[in-house]
């Protein structure tokens, strides 16, 4: 009888010893979505001239961008890198979701940050074989490394004629042999409550690329913009308001 009681007590003791550290570990899921001022954009929306902004009517034919160092920051400032890098292609369903490489505890977090593109240290030329084979590389003469974004489409010019546009973002070439990184960091300092069913949604409002803080007029832009450091800076600045985050 004594043994049974002792065993029961031991069991209770072990169970009650569960600390905060034993709370459930989760691998947050990610979902990447696109919208035009709130209207969802899917691959089926491509090619049709159906979007409008201050500069006219346009279509989307390509949208790929790269995020790196997607990091969750806990209330005690402990940072957990969830995703090293991820290439999102609006037409590739498999790229529109992924799962964290690390686990975190369920609970509240105070911030989510990520880098749009690779930071300077990680923008290592030819280092990422999965990106090399999809031609995500940025040319040597423009600073090497990798693209940050490839966004393309067509727009109607003043004569109502279709013209192509290509908004490719990457390292800025200031002059021959002089380059400046063009990645940018987005930080969402808001309470994030994560549980095992949580899905972190990273949303891109494509319309924002054209208007905030710089008005971007496709009619007056000179393409390609890749070798144009001013245009590259405009794109980077406009990128700051493009993203939002949600927990589903």
């Amino acid at each position: 009888m004594k043994k049974i009681v002792a065993l029961l007590l031991l069991s209770v003791l072990i169970t009650s010893c569960k600390t905060d550290d034993d709370s459930e570990k989760i691998s947050p899921k990610f979902k990447f979505t696109f919208n035009w001022d709130g209207e969802a954009i899917n691959a089926s929306d491509f090619n049709a001239i159906k979007y409008s902004n201050e500069t006219g009517e346009l279509s989307i034919t390509k949208m790929r961008y790269l995020l790196s160092n997607i990091t969750l920051i806990a209330n005690d400032d402990v940072e957990t890198k969830l995703i090293t890098y991820h290439l999102i292609d609006l037409t590739e369903e498999a790229s529109l979701s992924t799962i964290s490489e690390s686990t975190v505890e369920e609970g509240n977090y105070k911030s989510l940050t990520f880098t749009v593109g690779f930071n300077e240290a990680e923008n290592t030329p030819n280092a990422y074989t999965d990106l090399n084979i999809t031609n995500w590389n940025w040319p040597i003469g423009l600073g090497d490394g990798y693209h940050i974004m490839q966004y393309e489409g067509k727009f109607l010019d003043a004569s109502n004629q279709e013209q192509t546009y290509s908004l490719h973002v990457g390292t800025r070439k200031i002059s021959d042999g002089v380059f400046e990184p063009n990645h940018f960091i987005i930080s969402f300092d808001t309470n994030l409550v994560l549980n095992s069913n949580s899905e972190i949604e990273i949303k891109m409002n494509i319309a924002e690329w054209f208007k905030n803080p710089n008005l971007l007029d496709l009619n007056t832009m000179v393409f390609p913009i890749m070798p144009n450091p001013v245009a590259q800076l405009i794109m980077r600045d406009n990128g700051a308001s493009v993203f939002s985050v949600g927990i589903n």
């Binding site: 030819n126 090399n132 031609n135 590389n137 040597i140 489409g153 390609p224 070798p227």
Partner: protein, 358 residues
């Protein structure tokens, strides 16, 4: 007495065991694909399906089948008839002619580095998924080998050598019923095709630090990678993707109206009209004529197309940024320099490599 009957029954069962049940499959040898260092450094692993593992015997059988006209309807054409090693595994005519003297409507595609086509879409219009699927097509294509698989398999079974070669290449599959099937034919050919690798051009050697490029070749490389040529978005930046293609389908501005609708024929999507697979730029010197319909005889014509011959249409690739002015408008010197660079992608060893010969 009952015991005797029982023992006799057991003996009868044991003695009925057929040869096939006692068959010990041939132990074939795993084939280790020699991956060039430049590929190992810059590309993901090649596609080698679990359902078709490499074996020495499988590759050897695939090569024999590739060169054997036995697969064609009248025994006159093999895969190699339109995919000649000396031509970078394509041929030198606009349209290949099949066994019935009928021309196809697309240029024979060069064959190399196919194991790194990670989307696994083959043919100019991507209609086959996987090399094993692709290899089935030409045998029954009425303008190519114009055979039936029933006939082809019959001929293979009646040959004096193939049953043994199939048994050795696919011992597990053939042990049970000693069959040769079209699926095994395709698997063997796919194994051989995956070994066809080209990675030793002058530019590869330049990247390895073995040779230098001339001033014109280097400037051509710069033109390739900037707005003067604007080639890199489809063919890679050169130092990053040794395939020189991303295997994506594009309308590169050849026509305003398409008689051959390309990818649309497969997807049914009008947005895919006139899109064809982006080919590699390796070995261009061997693979003329160019484009899906072989319309350009020379490399100069190709360069002229991208410089001033691009034609707009509703599905034009939006990376053809200079379509409004017909192309990138290269100068004569720039064209010559770009051509000089493109010729550094020639892999002379590839077209004489005995590993790929009959």
């Amino acid at each position: 007495m009952k015991n005797y009957l029982y023992i006799l029954f057991i003996i009868a069962i044991i003695s009925c065991k057929s040869d096939s049940e006692s068959y010990v499959p041939y132990q074939n040898t795993a084939y280790i694909l020699a991956i060039p260092q430049i590929f190992a450094d810059k590309l993901p692993n090649p596609v080698i399906p679990n359902s078709n593992p490499f074996t020495v015997e499988g590759v050897a059988l695939g090569k024999k089948l590739f060169y054997d006209p036995i697969l064609s309807g009248d025994g006159t054409q093999s895969c190699a008839s339109c995919h000649k090693q000396v031509d970078g595994f394509t041929d030198d005519v606009q349209f290949s002619v099949g066994i019935d003297n009928i021309e196809g409507n697309r240029n024979s595609m060069p064959l190399f580095n196919m194991a790194w086509n990670l989307n696994e879409k083959f043919f100019w219009d991507g209609r086959s998924i996987g090399l094993e699927s692709q290899a089935l097509d030409p045998v029954t294509n009425v303008v190519e080998m114009h055979n039936t698989w029933q006939n082809a398999i019959h001929d293979l079974k009646n040959s004096s050598v193939y049953q043994d070669l199939f048994n050795k290449a696919f011992p597990e599959q053939t042990a049970m019923d000693t069959n040769i099937t079209k699926e095994l034919v395709a698997k063997a050919i796919a194994q051989f095709e995956r070994t066809i690798i080209s990675a030793n051009s002058k530019f590869d050697k330049y990247l390895n630090g073995e040779v230098n490029l001339t001033v014109d070749e280097l400037e051509g490389f710069n033109i390739f990678n900037d707005e003067r040529g604007d080639c890199f978005h489809c063919h890679g930046t050169g130092n990053s993707n040794p395939l020189w293609t991303d295997n994506i389908f594009r309308n590169n501005g050849l026509d305003a109206i398409f008689t051959d609708i390309g990818l649309e024929e497969v997807t049914g999507d009008p947005n895919d009209r006139g899109k064809f697979k982006t080919p590699s730029l390796r070995n261009l010197v061997f693979t003329a004529p160019y484009m899906h319909d072989g319309r350009f005889t020379t490399l100069d014509e190709v360069i002229n197309h991208y410089s001033e011959g691009v034609i707009n249409s509703s599905t034009i690739d939006t990376q053809m940024l200079f379509v409004a002015q017909g192309g990138t408008q290269m100068s004569t010197l720039e064209k010559a320099q770009l051509k000089a660079f493109l010729l550094t992608l020639t892999d002379n060893e590839f077209i004489t490599n005995p590993d790929f010969q009959e």
